[in-house]
């Protein structure tokens, strides 16, 4: 049996290694995302009914409805959400991912990422920036206005620029970003700059007013996390290729909805194994503390699932301060992750570990055996809707989702 599992895991990981995430288009959720409906709202993490949603996610849902004109205000939105006429589904059930609340609605612009090796695609909305933004549950005028601008000005321009430029190989861009101090989850400054450098020449050639182009560039430049919404779908279409490999114990999904943390395992298909979302250990922005924090939330943990983010912490000593550690601790986190992964990434490499590949392909069995839980870098949302990011730090999944998954895995594959 062991041999079979190892073989299956090698297959799963080789698919992750061979994946070629490529940015091919900017589109509209309703047009691009498979199975999307006008009355459907996608959210982060495992399935979550409206009643159970945490504050930030409820706020984002309300904002989404207002944006779509489904509701005029909070009261209407809440009534409609509770009415049952709105379909809530996880992004992950629609080849998509979304940071924090991860809310996507019909008219929102999305990045279209294609895995050129296997042909599968992944989708993700565009990043709105920090502070009062939808993904943290804010739905005030300014938030909706910004979303409108993104749909009307930003997205179309980027789409045209991308057409001029042609598809962008995200794998090598992420690899570069890791060389420049990003880990692709909590630090995306290098990636954002690289993206600007890549797209700017085509952007400025568009037949648009200077002011409009300038605002677009300024907007991207002003938001270090702009690249997060590119690294996420890249990772999504990468690991999706490794999903449902018979007999494989590789973890192909990790995601949180603010209430629960959920994982899915390649050899166990689409089944979720969930546990209570944890609180993030980390540094708080001045004036905030653990008491303001919402539980761990968002699909951004897809980056760790694909072997970057917290797993590449050693590449980004700059952000270790979030987890109250030294550069040595950063290296330690990555070294630990090698113990629960199947392979070392052949493209994503870490300078401080003399270019050793990042730990890639989380093995359910190794996680349980060693008791080492995946290390996840993440932002911390305020528990009240609309206040935004209050800090950042490190979080681990709840043990029990791995234990439960093992029960089922042993049931299915144990001799």
């Amino acid at each position: 049996m062991k041999a079979k599992i190892e073989e299956a895991n090698q297959e799963a990981v080789s698919r992750i290694q061979r994946a070629k995430p490529t940015l091919i288009d900017v589109s509209i959720a309703g047009e691009a995302i498979p199975g999307m409906k006008r009355n459907m709202i996608l959210h982060a993490g495992p399935p979550e009914p409206w009643e159970r949603m945490c504050g930030p996610m409820k706020g984002a849902v309300i904002g989404g409805m207002i944006l779509e004109g489904l509701a005029k205000n909070r009261q209407e939105a809440e009534a409609l959400a509770a009415s049952g006429d709105i379909l809530f589904e996880p992004c992950h059930h629609h080849s998509s991912v979304g940071p924090m609340a991860g809310v996507a609605t019909w008219s929102m612009p999305v990045w279209v990422m294609e895995n050129r090796t296997f042909g599968n695609r992944a989708y993700c909305t565009l990043n709105e920036g920090l502070g009062k933004v939808l993904r943290y549950g804010a739905f005030s005028e300014e938030v909706i206005a910004r979303l409108r601008w993104m749909a009307e000005d930003l997205a179309p321009a980027l789409k045209k620029a991308l057409v001029r430029h042609g598809p962008i190989d995200m794998k090598s861009m992420i690899a570069q970003a890791l060389q420049m101090g990003d880990e692709g989850h909590n630090r995306n400054r290098a990636g954002t700059s690289l993206f600007i450098r890549e797209i700017a020449p085509d952007l400025v050639m568009l037949d648009e007013s200077r002011e409009k182009i300038a605002r677009i560039l300024a907007f991207i430049h002003g938001n270090d996390h702009f690249f997060l919404n590119l690294s996420m779908p890249s990772c999504k279409c990468t690991v999706d290729a490794a999903a449902s490999v018979e007999g494989s114990s590789v973890v192909t999904t990790m995601a949180r909805n603010g209430t629960e943390f959920g994982i899915r395992v390649s050899g166990l298909g689409d089944r979720w194994f969930t546990g209570p979302a944890g609180m993030v250990e980390g540094l708080y922005l001045p004036g905030f503390s653990a008491r303001d924090a919402a539980p761990d939330i968002g699909d951004s943990v897809i980056t760790e699932t694909a072997g970057i983010g917290g797993f590449a912490m050693a590449a980004a000593p700059a952000i270790v301060k979030f987890v109250g550690g030294s550069a040595r601790d950063a290296i330690r986190y990555t070294q630990q992750m090698y113990e629960i992964t199947v392979a070392e990434n052949d493209t994503y490499r870490i300078p401080t570990l003399d270019f050793r590949g990042t730990p890639t392909g989380i093995d359910l069995l190794k996680v349980v055996e060693t008791g080492i839980l995946p290390a996840i870098n993440t932002g911390i949302a305020h528990k009240e809707p609309g206040i935004g990011m209050v800090g950042a730090g490190l979080v681990h999944p709840p043990e029990n989702c791995f234990h439960d998954a093992l029960e089922v895995f042993a049931e299915k594959y144990g001799k």
Partner: protein, 303 residues
């Protein structure tokens, strides 16, 4: 091994730690969360995060060494050499009760201050009470930082000012941290000396949550100091104080005459290098500057 006392805070800890220092009467274990748990030989060195285990110190050549891994399992603590079982052992809170402070009144503060000026150790913040210590850059900095505190509009703001002292000063527990712990001790006493409904409120709060939202600034700040300092403040912010301070408060409250107070202060000052002194300075400071919110009735009317 079976401890004689278990700090209640230790029971909340799970996960791994590592022995970072070993002294004749204390072994310090750094929990992965950055809190220091001490295994101590005597009750008088107890804190909310200590375990009193005299047995460990009887034989010096055995016992843990720096680097040893320690597992916290809530109900017990496990090292490669031995296991310490907490189940059924008496726990230790390090909190003050109304009884502890009933004998306390304003006049005693000035006596404590006198005794402190008499017995206190310089090098830390003692100079905040008497401006005659030179060549102590930490002190100058602390004075600057505190100068604004009088004019501060609210207690929240005053505490924010205080948070500027976190991590300031010499010692493995920087003087600033001891000082703030002293201030918080004073506040805790005032709370107990005050109206009953406030007690009810305080009691209703989960002990693991800061007792008053005004303390936010401090909660944020404790990540900026050493593990030892962080550990002290982490406890003090939740109303738990080291035994030597509790003992000081009790003796001062019960004291009949001046000499008893001097003795009590001297005992406290003997703790750490300047820790005892700095904490008492904070304690006195708290009453003198009345950090406590003025909206409350004056607490120190002589009974």
């Amino acid at each position: 091994m079976v401890p004689t006392l278990v700090g209640a805070g230790v029971l909340c800890l799970t996960g791994w730690g590592k022995v970072v220092s070993v002294f004749s009467q204390a072994v310090n274990i750094r929990h992965d969360q950055g809190l220091l748990v001490s295994v101590v030989g005597e009750t008088r060195s107890m804190t909310f995060l200590s375990v009193c285990l005299p047995a460990l110190f009887r034989n010096q050549n055995k016992g843990p060494v720096p680097g040893d891994r320690v597992r916290f399992e809530g109900h017990r603590l496990v090292t490669k050499d031995f296991v310490v079982e907490f189940l059924g052992r008496p726990t230790w809170q390090g909190t003050l009760t109304r009884d502890d402070v009933k004998g306390f009144h304003a006049s005693k503060v000035s006596l404590v201050k006198e005794a402190l000026l008499l017995k206190g150790r310089d090098g830390g913040f003692l100079g905040l009470l008497c401006r005659d210590e030179s060549n102590n850059p930490f002190l100058d900095k602390a004075m600057k930082a505190l100068s604004g505190i009088q004019s501060a509009p609210s207690r929240a703001v005053r505490l924010k000012v205080l948070s500027g002292l976190v991590g300031l000063g010499p010692g493995s527990t920087p003087s600033g941290d001891d000082f703030i712990a002293g201030v918080l001790l004073g506040q805790e006493m005032l709370r107990l000396l005050l109206s009953t409904e406030e007690k009810a409120v305080a009691a209703s709060l989960d002990p693991m949550i800061p007792c008053s939202t005004e303390k936010e600034a401090l909660w944020v700040a404790i990540n900026r100091t050493s593990d030892a300092g962080k550990t002290l403040l982490w406890q003090a912010l939740q109303g738990h104080f080291p035994e030597y301070l509790i003992e000081m408060v009790r003796s001062v409250s019960d004291a009949e005459g001046k000499q008893e107070i001097v003795d009590a202060v001297e005992r406290a000052v003997g703790c750490g290098a300047t820790s005892g002194t700095d904490a008492l300075v904070g304690f006195v400071f708290c009453f003198e500057r009345d950090l406590y919110d003025r909206s409350h009735p004056p607490p120190l009317s002589k009974s």
